[in-house]
């Protein structure tokens, strides 16, 4: 099992609260809301402050109704659907997120493309899953705090993503509907046990969207940190392999 970086060891957590992040975060905001970028656009910094953008493909998986579409919308700052309309195919959503690396102080824009596919559509059409898996960098396994079966099914789901071909794929678990504590069906202890067994980060989401950054920052930072960590691991492995062949 891949090593998970310690939270906040690679990137500055809560950087969106620091003053020096302002010039970067204002590029992803418009009138105090997250800006929607088409495929022909991206956040642009002035030439003297130009930063690199790193691209990632993230697949969101979980039972119908757990909140995949809602999570993608939340992370990108779009309107969150309040009634459940099944997603009948693949929809991708792009979230740009500025990150400051702890060691070098270097700033990067993470371009996180979230791939959301309705669970029933996946079952009806065979070609959708391979398309979601093509060149994927991370998987978010979703369960809902109000639906026990979605939690119990996690192990099954994760096992499907444990072969050598997908060993480099970053894996995170997200519990949705954490705001509906009155209907909570998954105890805190179960989550802790699960985390101990699988050694995967478990994040929680739900509730009103407040200022557009604060409520999504922990999840986006965690995702970015894990992706960056995986890139570093892959790069150093490749370096070692190359050194071996040269020798």
């Amino acid at each position: 099992m891949a090593q998970v970086p310690l939270h906040g060891s690679l990137i500055v957590s809560d950087w969106h609260r620091c003053k020096d992040s302002k010039e970067y975060f204002c590029k992803i905001l418009h009138k105090k809301r997250r800006k929607n970028f088409g495929l022909l656009e991206s956040p642009v910094m002035p030439p003297q402050a130009a930063v690199d953008t790193v691209h990632y493909k993230i697949f969101i998986t979980g039972k119908s109704g757990v909140g995949k579409t809602a999570l993608a919308a939340r992370l990108a700052g779009l309107n969150i659907p309040n009634i459940h309309h099944e997603t009948t195919g693949i929809e991708t959503t792009v979230a740009y997120w500025p990150v400051k690396l702890r060691e070098s102080g270097r700033v990067l824009f993470f371009r996180l493309q979230l791939w959301d596919c309705g669970e029933n559509a996946l079952r009806r059409f065979d070609h959708l899953l391979p398309s979601c898996k093509e060149q994927v960098d991370a998987v978010l396994f979703l369960f809902s705090f109000t639906d026990r079966t979605s939690f119990d099914d996690l192990s099954n789901q994760i096992t499907k993503w444990s072969g050598p071909s997908v060993s480099r794929v970053v894996k995170l678990v997200v519990g949705t509907k954490f705001d509906l504590f009155m209907h909570c069906d998954v105890a805190e202890r179960d989550v802790r046990d699960f985390q101990a067994t699988w050694n995967l980060p478990v994040l929680r989401t739900g509730g009103e969207v407040s200022d557009g950054l604060g409520d999504v920052a922990p999840l986006l930072n965690c995702l970015a940190e894990n992706l960056w960590h995986q890139d570093c691991v892959t790069a150093s492995q490749r370096f070692q392999e190359e050194t071996v062949t040269v020798l």
Partner: protein
């Protein structure tokens, strides 16, 4: 009637046994007993060798039935009443179109096989849930300025620089191994490949509705399996959609390749980056739908222009209209859209012939019989009609190529309406070639 005024409820049952499959529309559902009776009375008619297709209640409510593929029955119930949208004939036209559109939606998402051969009712019920987003959109019919579900003509936007966007659409579609491509700006078709226009008019309208829905969510790209209700009801194609700029989406209908990932990373920027400024110009055309080079007369408040041959339409409501001080205020923008729709239905249900190229249902044709009887009562086909109300004056004009519906400020003398209409038509056609 048990429904609120002006609201519509949609019921779907299995045709053979009357098992309810779903109901959509108003929050206050019809009681089960009423649904049962609605089904029962239709079945009774069937037993007597008649097809019950439409009835009207004392309070002005309406019920329309229609069975599709001998398998699924759709019933539309509208509340009628004082605030109801227009008189009885117009409402019937609207509801018939609605049922046809809903059926097409169901085929688009699920394919005809699953709907025509119901093996497992519970499973069908579950699968039908995936159609609700589109069906709800049809029922709400909220987006102002989109008239396609009513006219069965594609809502279009005429870009200021049509050649450039046309080339980009053609090139992009070809590179994506597709003959079907289109560019949608503000929910309206700005350019499309020739083959896209050869799809059935209802398919073009339905795909536009789907794309608008997907685009409104703000997502970046999509890969949606779709069945074409007329062209390919049993084999799904892939609808790929890419948001180029917020408000501008390009779509292609594909087979198994290319994958969404490949098309997005390999083709989108290659074909569309060079024309990004042209796209921005298209976006500024906005709801007006007509390029700035077309100047409309100041007394025109709103217009709907249909090209009868190509089944395309452009429509707009002007925000600033010439208006002498002291006159009563002109109707609001949203009221203008409503009046335009009503006048369209008024003209079509009374005077103008509908296009026979449409795949019209048997029922709709029977219903239309009464209109045709009325029309046949004249020695000529009406080519123009007008209506004067307190809010505005309306004028409809028909030529072999076009149909034009205009709302005009009330201060224009009635005898001058025809001149306003013919001039508006020639102004638009001469500049845009629409």
């Amino acid at each position: 009637m048990m429904l609120q005024d002006g609201s519509t409820q949609l019921l779907c049952l299995t045709a053979s046994s009357g098992v309810p499959l779903f109901s959509r529309g108003t929050s206050k559902q019809l009681p089960f007993s009423v649904i049962g009776s609605l089904n029962g009375v239709h079945m009774f008619g069937g037993g007597q060798g008649t097809v019950l297709s439409c009835c009207e209640t004392e309070g002005g409510g309406k019920v329309i039935w229609r069975v599709f593929q001998d398998s699924v029955m759709l019933i539309a119930v509208s509340g009628g009443g004082q605030g109801g949208p227009g008189s009885s004939k117009e409402e019937v036209v609207r509801l018939q179109r609605l049922l046809e559109n809903v059926w097409n939606c169901m085929v688009l998402v699920l394919g005809q096989d699953e709907l025509a051969n119901v093996r497992n009712v519970e499973r069908l019920k579950r699968d039908l849930r995936s159609c609700f987003s589109l069906i709800d959109q049809l029922l709400e019919d909220r987006q102002e300025g989109i008239l396609g579900s009513l006219t069965h003509c594609a809502d279009c936007l005429l870009p200021p620089n049509p050649t450039l966007v046309q080339q980009a659409v053609d090139g992009f579609a070809q590179a994506a191994d597709s003959e079907f491509g289109c560019l949608i700006v503000h929910g309206r078709i700005a350019a499309a490949t020739e083959k896209w226009w050869r799809l059935a008019p209802q398919e073009v309208v339905l795909l536009s509705a789907l794309i608008r829905f997907l685009s409104a969510s703000g997502s970046t790209s999509c890969d949606y399996p779709v069945f074409l209700p007329h062209g390919s009801p049993t084999v799904a194609h892939r609808l790929l959609r890419f948001q180029l700029l917020p408000g501008a989406d390009v779509c292609v209908l594909c087979g198994p390749t290319p994958s969404l990932h490949k098309a997005e990373t390999g083709l989108v920027c290659r074909f569309w980056s060079p024309v990004v400024e042209t796209l921005r110009e298209c976006l500024t055309v906005g709801e007006r739908c007509l390029p700035g080079s077309v100047s409309l007369r100041p007394d025109v408040m709103a217009l709907l222009l249909i090209n009868r041959e190509t089944r395309r339409s452009v429509s707009c409501v002007k925000t600033s209209t010439h208006h002498p001080p002291g006159d009563p205020p002109l109707p609001s923008k949203s009221r203008c859209w409503e009046l335009l729709k009503l006048f369209y239905m008024f003209s079509m249900s009374r005077y103008f012939a509908q296009e026979e190229t449409l795949c019209v249902s048997q029922e709709e044709r029977t219903q239309r019989g009464t209109t045709e009887d009325f029309v046949l009562g004249f020695s000529h086909q009406p080519q123009q009609c007008y209506l004067v109300t307190e809010e505005c004056k309306s004028y409809g004009l028909q030529t072999p190529q076009h149909q034009l519906f205009l709302l005009i400020v009330p201060s224009v003398p009635t005898f001058a309406l025809r001149t306003v209409a013919t001039q508006t038509l020639s102004d638009i056609v001469s500049v845009t070639g629409f």
